[in-house]
Amino acid sequence: MGKANFGGIVKQVCLEYTPEVNAGDYVLVHVGFALAKVDEEEAARTYQLLEEMAQLAELETPDV
C-alpha cells in the first residue's frame, strides 16, 4: 500500500501492480489500485508533437 495525492486529497492506493513506482511518481489509479506509472517523457512528447503540428497547420492554413 502507498499514499496517493489526488489533487489535494490523500488516499491509500495499492501498489502491487506497479512495483516500479517510486515516491513522487505520477500514477494512474483505478478503484484504489495503481495500474501504471505515467511516463512523463511520453506525456511531454505527445504534447510537443501536437504543438508542432499546430504550428504546421497554422502555416498551411492561415485562414482557419
Binding site: 496517493a4 495525492n5 489526488f6 489533487g7 488516499k11 495499492c14 502491487e16 501492480y17 506497479t18 512495483p19 505520477y26 500514477v27 494512474l28 489509479v29 483505478h30 478503484v31 484504489g32 489500485f33 495500474l35 501504471a36 505515467v38 511516463d39 512523463e40 511520453e42 506525456a43 511531454a44 512528447r45 505527445t46 504534447y47 501536437l50 504543438e51 503540428m53 499546430a54 504546421l56 497547420a57 497554422e58 498551411e60 492554413t61 482557419v64
Partner: protein, 389 residues
C-alpha cells in the same frame, strides 16, 4: 469518468488547451475528404466528448457514435436481479460501486432495497469490502464485481487476498466484460456503420493492445488507443481519420504516456489466476461469446453465484428503452422517445441514464435535451444515413 475512478495526472491543463484543440480541428478539416463514422469505445471518452461538445466541434464529415464501454450499462438485467435477490437477504451485507445503486432491475434498484432495510454499502474499492468482511464475521459480505478489464485487477486482488487470508465470509458476484469481443460483435452486426475506433485507453493500460491487432486486420478498421482528455480525443480522431483517408487499418497508440503494447503484465498475471474467460450476456446487446470473466473453479468458495442459489428470475425490461441500440452505436440518446421526458437521471428507465459513463446520462447532464432541436436541425443536412433496412 465515473465517480469511483480518480485519475491523477500531470499535464491536465496542457491536454485541455483550447487554442491547441482549435489547431487540431483545423488540421482535421484540412485532411478530411469524405464522411467517416468513428466510435469511441469507452464511456469515459463519451463523457469527455459530450462534456466539451467535441462532437459538435468536429468537421461535419466526421461523426462520432458512442460505444458500449459503460460497465454499469451493460451489466445484464439477470445479474442485477440476482444482485437484488442476494442483497435482500438479512444475513448479507451487499457492497457495490456507487453508480450501480440507481440501475433499475426488473422491479426495484439497490437504493430502494437499502431504504427498505437491506444492508447495501457503497465502496470505492473492492478492498474496502474485504475490510467490511473482516469487521463483520457474523455476516456474509458480497461484492458486486462488475467492470471491464480496467477493474479486473482490483477485483481479482480482493478475491486473491480473501483466499490467502482465509476470509471465508467474503464472496463476489462476478459480471465482468471484455472489450475486444464487443468490438468484433459490433463490426459483425448488419446495422454497423462504424469505420474506425477510438480504443479504450484504460482497458489497454492493463491488457495492452496486441489483441486489437487481429481485429483491425480482419475487419479492415483502424483502431487508435486513445486517452480521456479533450486533446487526447481530438488527436485520436485525427489519427483515425488520417488512417481512413490513407486507406490504412492499423492499431496505433495515442496514449503512450500510460499505455504500453504489452500492458501491465503483473496485473494480467493475477487476473488470469483468478478469472477465466466465459460467454457473457450484455444488457441491451445480448450474449457475446467469450466476452466475460468468471471466477476460476479454485475460487468457488468465494463465488456468490454458487453460494447463494438464486432461482430463475423472470426479467422485465421497459419496452420503450432503446439503450441496446445506443450501446451498439446504432442510435443516439435523443433518438429515444423517452429521453428527457419519462426517462431522466432521477427516474431512469435504462442503465445508460444512470452511470456518468452512460451516453443518455451524459447527454442529459450537459443539456442536450434542451438544445436538441437546433442541433439536430444543424446536423441534419450532413449526417450520414444509417444503412438500416
Amino acid at each position: 469518468m465515473s465517480k469511483r475512478e480518480s485519475f491523477f495526472m500531470k499535464y491536465i491543463d496542457e491536454y485541455r488547451s483550447e487554442a491547441l484543440a482549435q489547431k487540431v480541428i483545423g488540421e482535421l478539416r484540412r485532411i478530411v475528404t469524405r464522411p467517416w463514422v468513428l466510435m469511441e469505445v469507452c464511456g469515459g471518452q463519451t463523457h469527455t466528448i459530450v462534456k466539451y461538445g467535441i462532437d459538435h466541434l468536429l468537421p461535419n464529415e466526421v461523426e462520432l457514435v458512442h460505444g458500449p464501454g459503460c460497465p454499469v450499462c451493460v451489466t445484464s438485467l439477470e445479474m442485477i436481479d440476482k444482485a437484488h435477490a442476494i442483497a435482500r437477504r438479512p444475513d448479507v451485507i451487499f457492497c457495490s460501486f456507487g453508480d450501480m445503486l440507481r440501475v433499475p432491475g426488473s422491479a426495484v434498484d439497490l437504493l430502494v432495497l437499502k431504504s427498505r432495510g437491506a444492508d447495501v454499502r457503497v465502496v470505492y474499492s473492492p478492498i474496502d469490502s474485504l475490510k467490511i468482511a473482516r469487521a463483520n464475521p457474523g455476516k456474509k459480505i458480497v461484492f458486486f464485481a462488475i467492470g471491464f478489464e480496467t477493474t479486473a485487477p482490483g477485483n481479482a486482488m480482493a478475491v486473491w487476498q480473501a483466499r490467502q487470508q482465509g476470509i471465508k465470509n467474503f464472496s463476489v458476484l462476478v459480471s465482468h466484460v471484455l472489450v475486444p469481443p464487443a468490438i468484433a460483435s459490433i463490426l459483425q452486426s448488419p446495422l454497423n456503420r462504424v469505420q474506425g475506433f477510438l480504443g479504450p485507453g484504460h482497458v489497454c493500460t492493463v491488457m495492452g493492445y496486441r489483441e486489437y491487432e487481429p481485429i483491425a486486420e480482419r475487419f479492415n478498421v483502424p483502431i487508435v488507443i486513445t486517452g480521456f482528455e479533450p486533446l487526447d480525443i481530438l488527436e485520436g480522431v485525427l489519427m483515425t481519420v488520417r488512417q481512413l483517408e490513407a486507406g490504412k487499418a492499423q492499431v496505433q497508440n495515442q496514449y503512450p504516456r500510460v499505455v504500453k503494447r504489452e500492458g501491465n503484465r503483473v496485473a494480467q498475471e493475477l487476473v488470469n489466476k483468478v478469472f477465466d474467460v466465459c460467454d457473457r450476456k450484455w444488457r441491451g446487446v445480448g450474449s457475446i461469446p467469450k466476452s466475460g470473466y468468471k471466477l476460476r473453479y479454485e475460487f468457488r468458495d468465494h463465488d456468490a453465484e454458487r453460494l447463494f442459489e438464486v432461482e430463475e428470475i423472470d426479467t422485465q425490461e421497459p419496452s420503450i428503452c432503446i439503450s441496446g441500440l445506443v450501446l451498439k452505436g446504432v442510435k443516439k440518446p435523443h433518438d429515444c422517445p423517452a429521453f428527457g421526458k419519462e426517462c431522466k437521471p432521477e427516474h431512469p428507465l435504462g442503465a445508460t441514464m444512470v452511470s456518468a459513463e452512460g451516453a443518455c446520462a451524459a447527454y442529459y447532464a450537459y443539456g442536450r435535451h434542451l438544445d436538441l432541436e437546433n442541433r439536430l436541425a444543424a446536423r441534419r443536412g450532413v449526417s450520414v444515413t444509417p444503412n438500416e433496412q
